[in-house]
């Protein structure tokens, strides 16, 4: 039978093997979350490492109070991304360059189709959204979290997340419209 996560987290404070178990459970999710926010595999690796190192160092400060361990990890990853943007003084649209130069396309430039162009425009518009809206879309569509789970990660109610999602789609549509007219 699988060990309850709360016990595993408590054990991880003194047992490296238990921390390794938590790491294996969450590394793919954290990496994906960070990658979708930065658009770069190299930066995703760097920030994933920082996220887990920080989690290890501050594990003693984590207390189960209705917030799951994953929500705590997402907060650390989110802060790592925010600091990354601030420290590098990168604007969110810069990551488009990385997206535009994906390995596949640089090897076969003729394979850039209209659908791919549209996807690129969409990703560009998404990266121009405010950080919390980008976070919402990544948590919802790339991480597959429910509204209640997203609410716990972002410290909001389920209803607030639904409203934010609605506003995000409207803003995204507007940004896409602007891209077309530019």
């Amino acid at each position: 039978m699988e060990e309850p996560e709360q016990l595993l987290v408590e054990r991880a404070r003194t047992d490296p093997a238990a921390f390794a178990s938590l790491y294996k459970t969450y590394v793919d999710r954290m990496y994906n979350y960070i990658y979708q926010r930065t658009g770069s595999h190299a930066d995703a690796e760097d920030l994933t490492a920082r996220t887990f190192l920080r989690a290890l160092v501050h594990l003693d400060s984590f207390v189960f109070r209705g917030v799951p361990f994953s929500a705590w990890l997402y907060r650390i990853a989110h802060n790592a991304v925010v600091n990354w943007y601030r420290d590098q003084r990168r604007h969110q649209v810069v990551t488009l360059d990385t997206l535009a130069l994906s390995a596949q396309e640089s090897e076969r430039p003729e394979a850039v189709t209209q659908a791919r162009e549209q996807e690129r425009a969409l990703l560009g518009a998404m990266h121009r959204l405010p950080a919390e809206r980008q976070e919402l879309l990544v948590l919802k569509f790339s991480e597959g979290l429910t509204n209640a789970e997203i609410g716990r990660v972002m410290g909001r109610t389920e209803g607030a997340i639904k409203s934010l999602y609605h506003r995000t789609l409207l803003d995204l549509r507007e940004l896409l419209g602007k891209t077309k007219t530019d």
């Binding site: 093997a17 921390f19 390794a20 590394v27 990496y31 887990f52 509204n147 409203s163 609605h166």
Partner: protein, 128 residues
């Protein structure tokens, strides 16, 4: 359509998208009879879902990071064992010392006053 209805419809649609394993851009779900405004937002949500296909880290990276983290965790554990249980903080020691000195001063003061009173009453008795 009311704002709340749109909000709920979008949320339900997003949940539905997450339960579908693979989304094909060529076969969008049937939206017959829907509000065109809502239909356009559904379509946009589907494009976002498609664009945010999950990315996975390389196996080399995950293994190396696991090794590094395990080593850091072991070092921390060894250090905690060497340091032993947490020692009282300096502030607590200073506070306790101040309280002790204050207590002693109070006792000295009380005893001195009591001794003076005893002395005075002794003098009065003596002069009387």
């Amino acid at each position: 359509m009311r704002h709340e209805e749109v909000r709920e419809a979008l949320a339900a649609h997003a949940d539905q998208l997450n339960t579908v394993n693979s989304l094909s851009a060529h076969s969008p779900p049937d939206r017959g009879g829907q509000d065109p405004e809502l239909g356009a937002l559904f379509q946009l949500a589907e494009r976002v879902k498609f664009a945010l296909a999950p990315a996975r880290p390389s196996e080399d990276f995950t293994l190396k990071l696991l090794t590094d983290l395990t080593e850091v965790a072991r070092q921390r554990m060894r250090r905690d064992i060497l340091i032993g249980p947490p020692k009282p903080r300096a502030e607590l020691i200073i506070g306790a010392a101040v309280a002790l000195v204050g207590g002693i001063a109070y006792l000295i003061h009380s005893y001195t006053r009591a001794a003076r009173q005893v002395g005075k009453s002794g003098q009065r008795a003596h002069t009387a």
